[in-house]
Symmetry: C2
Subunit: 683 residues, 2 copies
Amino acid sequence: MTPKYPATIILLVLLILTSAFTVQAQENKFNLMPVPSEIKIGKGHFLLDSTFAACVTGTADPRIHNAASRFLRRLANRTGLFIQQDFVIPREKNKHSVLFIQVERPGRLIVGEDESYTLKIEDDEIIVSAVTDLGAMHGLETLLQLLKGDSEGYFFPEVEIKDAPRFPWRGLMIDVSRHFFPLDLIRRNLDAMAAVKMNVFHWHLSDDQGIRVESKVYPKLHELGSDGIYYTQEEIKALVKYAADRGIRVIPEFDVPGHSSAFLTAYPEFASAPGPYKIERRWGIFDPTFDPTIEKTYEFFDRFFGEMTSLFPDEYFHIGGDENNGRQWDNNKNIQKFMKDNNIKDNHELQAYFNKRLVDILNKYNKKMVGWDEILNPDMPKNILIQSWRGIKSLAESARHGYQGILSNGYYIDLVQPASFHYLNDPIPDSLNLSAEEKKFILGGEATSWAELVTLETVESRIWPRTAVIAERLWSPAYVRDVDDMYKRLERMSFLLEEHGLLHQKNYEMMLRRLTDNHDIKALKTIADILEPVKIYNRHFQGKVHVQHSPYTRTVDAARPESMTAREFNLLVDKYIQTKDAPVLDILRGMLIKWESNHAELVKLMEVSPIIKELEPHSLNLVKLSRTALDALDLMTSNRLPSNEWLEQSKLAIENAKKPHGQTEFAITGAVEKLLKHNGWIK
Amino acid sequence: MTPKYPATIILLVLLILTSAFTVQAQENKFNLMPVPSEIKIGKGHFLLDSTFAACVTGTADPRIHNAASRFLRRLANRTGLFIQQDFVIPREKNKHSVLFIQVERPGRLIVGEDESYTLKIEDDEIIVSAVTDLGAMHGLETLLQLLKGDSEGYFFPEVEIKDAPRFPWRGLMIDVSRHFFPLDLIRRNLDAMAAVKMNVFHWHLSDDQGIRVESKVYPKLHELGSDGIYYTQEEIKALVKYAADRGIRVIPEFDVPGHSSAFLTAYPEFASAPGPYKIERRWGIFDPTFDPTIEKTYEFFDRFFGEMTSLFPDEYFHIGGDENNGRQWDNNKNIQKFMKDNNIKDNHELQAYFNKRLVDILNKYNKKMVGWDEILNPDMPKNILIQSWRGIKSLAESARHGYQGILSNGYYIDLVQPASFHYLNDPIPDSLNLSAEEKKFILGGEATSWAELVTLETVESRIWPRTAVIAERLWSPAYVRDVDDMYKRLERMSFLLEEHGLLHQKNYEMMLRRLTDNHDIKALKTIADILEPVKIYNRHFQGKVHVQHSPYTRTVDAARPESMTAREFNLLVDKYIQTKDAPVLDILRGMLIKWESNHAELVKLMEVSPIIKELEPHSLNLVKLSRTALDALDLMTSNRLPSNEWLEQSKLAIENAKKPHGQTEFAITGAVEKLLKHNGWIK
């Protein structure tokens, strides 16, 4: 529940909507996310008090003790209990111990490590049992999700859970080049990843707009290629440790040979065309590209990767490899000659040559190469891993050729698509014609947060909560696909994620306050609640040229990627069409009247806050759209037919309301249109 | 305005209250904070568009260019204008330049540096002119505060401002030992300090509960004395640079010889009693104290201060020196013998001996010593600076003896007192019997944020916005003392401060969401809005023993230090008593009815969220208190007298409502009592 509407109305909405949901599987009654593989539910419960204490048994390293201590703090923070145990210490069985964490051995941060766990809650003790501490940490997250309160106090319900991930690679990529994000933000996102059982943080550290690492071997990289905004090596080591403490691998990405304006700003001598270069401020695909035909390029990568691989202990290392437009190669005579001399027939083959050289370098440092689809080439060795932005088919194709792959197509969370879209996007859909052996090459997937259009104020609202449903897709059994149930659990998860300090919820009203210059946000919120940013890449094509230093503080930035108010409205329209329930009608009418009457108040705000003036056409369209829907409901309830004049006006109202303004669009237009279509008034 | 009430009601409240305000000085019509020394207001305005560009003239270093670039980004973020200029570059006069920043020379970060500026806004250009870039940066902050919007767009009003600080030392101390705060938090607090023209960040880096710096000379300090939570030297250098870029000096504090449990955990050999020691988890004054009688203590400080002074370029260095309880000294025979042999008559003299030794060490490193009142001793050299936690009298006494001093008594923002209290606390009140020469020894003051009862979720709500009024006290002319006007401007300043990412406003509802387990927060907010944490140190004496790992997530932590809803209610009661205005009565009744009827909803929340059960007695008392006030208003409007029975009940209701529960107390009780007193019904 959110504070959008009074509790009574929310209750009513829930009661009304519940019957529209698929019948809930019993395992989902605790709103766990991701849903565990197996759960048995008892009737008892473990009642909490401040003597609650934990201990670890088995062969464990400090990681699980620290995780257990953090668990105690989170439990205290949620319950207000002054839990007495301060730290969970090795080999110390607190006499009050009631939570027993049993691990066989420390987990290694490698692909396919055992992450399974069992969790057993009884009236007087709780046992989290796992082969590795990685599994045990997942168990502790599940346990925290099970916390409940009633008039007796806080308790954990009696359950027995057996759980293990479906895929071994469950990642989130964050681009810190286009806009930089400070380490605090990265750290709380790692906490959030751990909370939804993700285990790979892919750090997109270089692009045309900046290199974000300190290099001691090539210091001009951070000195000239970063605007002074980068992570020091000390910071990187600490971040890798922080992630490892949460069971998360860190994969760095240095995107080459294209996407390299920042690299070549620092070292133009490795470029395929004469410099000088400068850090790119615009968004798009640009020409600067490494020259793959000169040896000093590989000397550079040998030393640079040598330095970077020492910072990142993971066995995988990402070289990007995407979107090389080839222009500099086409125009460089030496490169053309090289291709001819070496029988390289096109740029794709030239890039494959480049990649193979990089594979050799990485192998020398005991690293496996990861790259985007473009690195795939039959000549490449089989120990590379393909990250597919192009799609499941290309991933399947890689698998058939014996290449490991992970899916990112369909998980581009920066494209502000609905959670359901990402949720139903399966790395191995039933339709995929792969053998059991081939399927094993598909290791999982990664959500990708590209950073052109986000700043530290907004990026978390683009990552969370939607990434949680990708985490579930990659962890839970494939058959867990109930969208309505997912949304119900997602709302709770979004709330729980705030515990880590994420700004995804709380920055919304802060941004509305700024947009109104601190006047009453109500009228702005009423309309912003049902607006969404235009989808996919449309924002780049609607009258504003966004660059790195543009303001990302407008309504389009405040608006959520997916409007839950609109979702509720849409469900209610469906429900009303099916049932003609009077209480549903009342709620719908209430929402529509609020929208219809909002304009007068919003206009007043525009007069003191010009930044929201761009919403004026939307606001006017909303008046007409709401009126159309109200009229349609009236006609339906009174069994009357619309006049032709009304129909024409209404079609126009709907068409107008579909138009984007200020790079936002209404998320309720389809439902209004549905009302008319359902009655056969329009096609 | 805040979204607490519909705009119409807020407007009404403002209209009603305005006449209660002292007549506004014209200079305050732009809500500037701190109020500038001199302002002339014209009739024109400078209209903004996206071609807006800035340039710097004069002898300037990169600092002012970076500040000007940041200014452009903030302007773009507030207005949504796609301002074309990306960076303000040295020696580049943008052809669109309309903002001219003229500086004579780079400012030095020393006490008493010229921080004055003039700001002239005309229809077609804006000139910020200053001797130093420090002054120019203050001018840019003033300019940003002047931004306004109307139906024509965004503009700066025509003004001419001449401004300079009253005191050269305007500081904020943050304790990072009791609870640690990450650098992002420190950085945004530095931004906020710059926004209110503060210039000293006092970093309380060590205490019994932890040492927060990396030491390469004495690595056990951070290894054993910090729980692994400390700033690295690289981070400290970067932070000092960040502060300097904003015209802020950084003064480190290492609190010795007391408050040193963490020091002595690492190096017990310097203690006045045998170890081992451990990091303190409780709050209070503890025994562990350095041994001032052994030479190796001074060898330690020589090397440690030598290392630390190299990290902190400021000429001042804080050694704490407070609250040494002397127990270890009393009980150590060698120390007692040393005192006898050296004719040291008591612990205060012994500490003076210790301090003198430290002064010698610090002087060697070209540092002046700062310490709390206790370091004052006639034998101390005159180049030390006293930070007074004891009070203005002790500060005046220091000044008379020729010691520089700054005031912190009355600026202890962790004690959750009202802004007005801090605002009226002047370092040199008229009553102070000091000569003009003596007054010069009083350099200013510092707000102090002690961290026993705050975490990174709550600390900013304790620092901001109230610290802004201390900033004004230290910057603006002494005669600027209108409390009502201050509150009006403070509300705007609190809003503007959110721009820097501060959590002081947005964490309130986040914490209420957690307290309700994500149910509708309305009923909780209704009561929390008029509750304040118990004042001064009372929280330590009300049934809960708070330690470092206690939960700081309860209602007392969410509640604001000063309830603005209560302030509004109190002003309305005053107004009604004076005027008997019917519209005032309506608003009062509306508030009281809401409070009276809140209990039923709150009880429902308690049933799902046991953490708020502690509010039950408060909530029941609020019902009766509201009823008392409603009855009193009814009696007043109908000119009737209360019955004795009612009077007894009402007195009881008021007495009960005064009692704290859950370490919170109502901020409206006095106003209700006033209603009864005014009528002569109670004394």
